[in-house]
């Protein structure tokens, strides 16, 4: 399996630095949760890792810079789930999941029998086999979300980058999707980097959190160290109570302003 390292990654849009010298290394099988208010640079960081935006600095997989890898090798190492995936309404679920095998198909080639078998297998593991021939437009938001994750898993990449993977889901589907990623991480040693809004969920699943603010990392460490009321108040401008469960779970509870 693979480790991932961000070495002073800086992303600029024009003159504005949206990610400032981001440094972090995620051990093989680790889960880094990137949190922060809107516009903090979470998505830009993930987009830099898959070369969708220009950046300075370096992203290394197992100590080797991604810039030295070929395009298809990069695609085979990092599976990326964007915040708003575009789902062609009349593509079948199987066709969609099969796209995840693209890094392994030669330029003029076509997916092999093995690729097809693997795509079906992934559908089975996500309990969505019955959708194989259904069209994406006919499926519910939760089902679509699972297929997006299925597509990423079909790549069998050692590193999974998730940009707000569960923001469109209800609480049940959120849990299902994250449990699925956690299970795959446990069983296959997947390395995960996820940008997340829900702080409690981020703390529960990730083993390290990086709190970003205006492009810079302002707090880094285990959930209990990062999710402190005063830290969150400073960077999110929010009033919260942080509750520590006996099992170590950190629960962030928003509070109303009191007027008396």
């Amino acid at each position: 399996m693979s480790s991932l390292e961000f070495a002073s990654v800086t992303v600029r849009y024009g003159k504005r630095e949206v990610v400032r010298s981001f440094r972090a290394s995620v051990a093989s099988g680790g889960w880094l949760g990137v949190i922060g208010p809107n516009g903090a640079g979470k998505s830009s960081l993930l987009r830099a890792a898959v070369a969708l935006v220009d950046f300075t600095g370096d992203v290394l997989v197992d100590g080797v810079s991604l810039s030295l890898r070929s395009r298809s090798r990069r695609a085979a190492l990092l599976a990326y789930v964007p915040q708003n995936p575009l789902l062609p309404y009349d593509m079948t679920a199987l066709e969609y999941v099969l796209l995840g095998r693209s890094p392994f198909v030669s330029y003029f080639g076509t997916e092999s029998r093995h690729d097809r078998a693997l795509a079906r297998d992934v559908l089975g593991r996500l309990d969505v086999s019955e959708f194989a021939e259904r069209r994406l437009g006919e499926l519910s938001g939760g089902e679509q979300q699972r297929l997006v994750i299925a597509r990423a898993l079909a790549t069998e990449a050692p590193i999974l980058l998730l940009d707000e993977p569960t923001s469109a889901l209800d609480i049940g589907h959120q849990q299902q999707a994250l449990e699925l990623v956690a299970r795959l991480r446990r069983d296959h040693g997947l390395t995960v980097v996820s940008a997340m809004h829900d702080l409690t969920l981020a703390g529960m699943y990730a083993d390290h959190l990086a709190l970003m603010h205006e492009g810079s990392v302002v707090a880094y460490g285990p959930a209990a160290d990062v999710l402190r009321p005063e830290t969150l108040a400073e960077f999110y401008v929010v009033r919260v109570t942080v509750h520590h469960e006996p099992d170590g779970t950190v629960v962030v509870i928003p509070r109303r302003e009191s007027f008396d």
Binding site: R71, A75, Y96, G109
Partner: protein
Amino acid sequence: MNVEQHGTPRHHGGGGNWRRLAWFLASIAVVVTAVLLGAMIGPAGPPAWRIPLAFLDHLPGVDIDSGVSEAQWSLIWNIRMPRVILAGIVGAMLSVGGAAYQGVFRNPLVDPYLLGAAAGAGLGATLMIAVWGDVGRDWPVAPVPVVSFLFAMATVAVTYMVGASFGGLRSSTTLVLAGVAMVSLTTAIQTFVLQRNSEVVREVYNWILGRVSTATWTDVRLVTPYVVVSCVVLFLHRRHLDMLRVGDDEAATLGMPVARVRLVVVAAATLGTAAVVAVSGLIGFVGLLVPHAVRMVAGSSYRRLLPLTAAFGAAFLILVDIPGRTLTAPAELPIGVVTAFFGAPFFIFLLRTHQVAG
């Protein structure tokens, strides 16, 4: 989740080899039927039912009495058939080109003329007819198609360079806008030239409306190599066109060189489009109508879409050419007018019968 909102087709082709075979046989049957009808129906010549017999008679090793005289056969083979075959080639190319353009720009309203192929060809033809008439007099080939072909390619090349240098190649929007600008500019020049040379307006107008009526086997031989190269390249990129359906970004993270694929597909589609426009004039609507009609009945996967689009595009143009030459015989209706006249209601009918709330 951004689910594209379109009318949802009622039918759709799932996997299955038998279905693929059925579509394959259906496309062959449609094309053969269209070619036969095209050869059989016309203002002069032998009785229509004898013509299939005459075809059989001319197959090597077959000898039957078709009752078609040599002179009649010559009329069919040298006047009607080139026209039918050229209509087929033009229809197939414009439809495949349209589907490919729609794929790389992920825009259903795009046709193969988007980046200026038609406007450039129109300007080239206008200049040749109005201004440079003397220049091409001793060329070995007809000068108007050659010049319009070159202008079509040049216009798209300029559009591409402008779009790429100002917008980068990460987004296709700049390219589309550059196309809009180039089309306006080219059309403006064409209008200016026409206004200064009003005596050729009718000739230029006839060219613009499109025609396969004067087709000869030479025309067919002239365009075939371009169309074959173009279609082979486009067919080889069917998987890439399917990948682009999830967006440039995701296609890139799946390992696809998006900008390069877009350039290759646009270049190939433009080559074929420019070639057919050069011999047949501007036949509108085909590149929009046929790919969408095929999508509605057979689904949007480019692996199925491109071959079916080629077959149905060929059949469509052959069939609409029949009323073009019979309705007002011996005069001709321009085929560009007929495609829109029959195509638009058919398209509306398809929209209506296949639309479900998106």
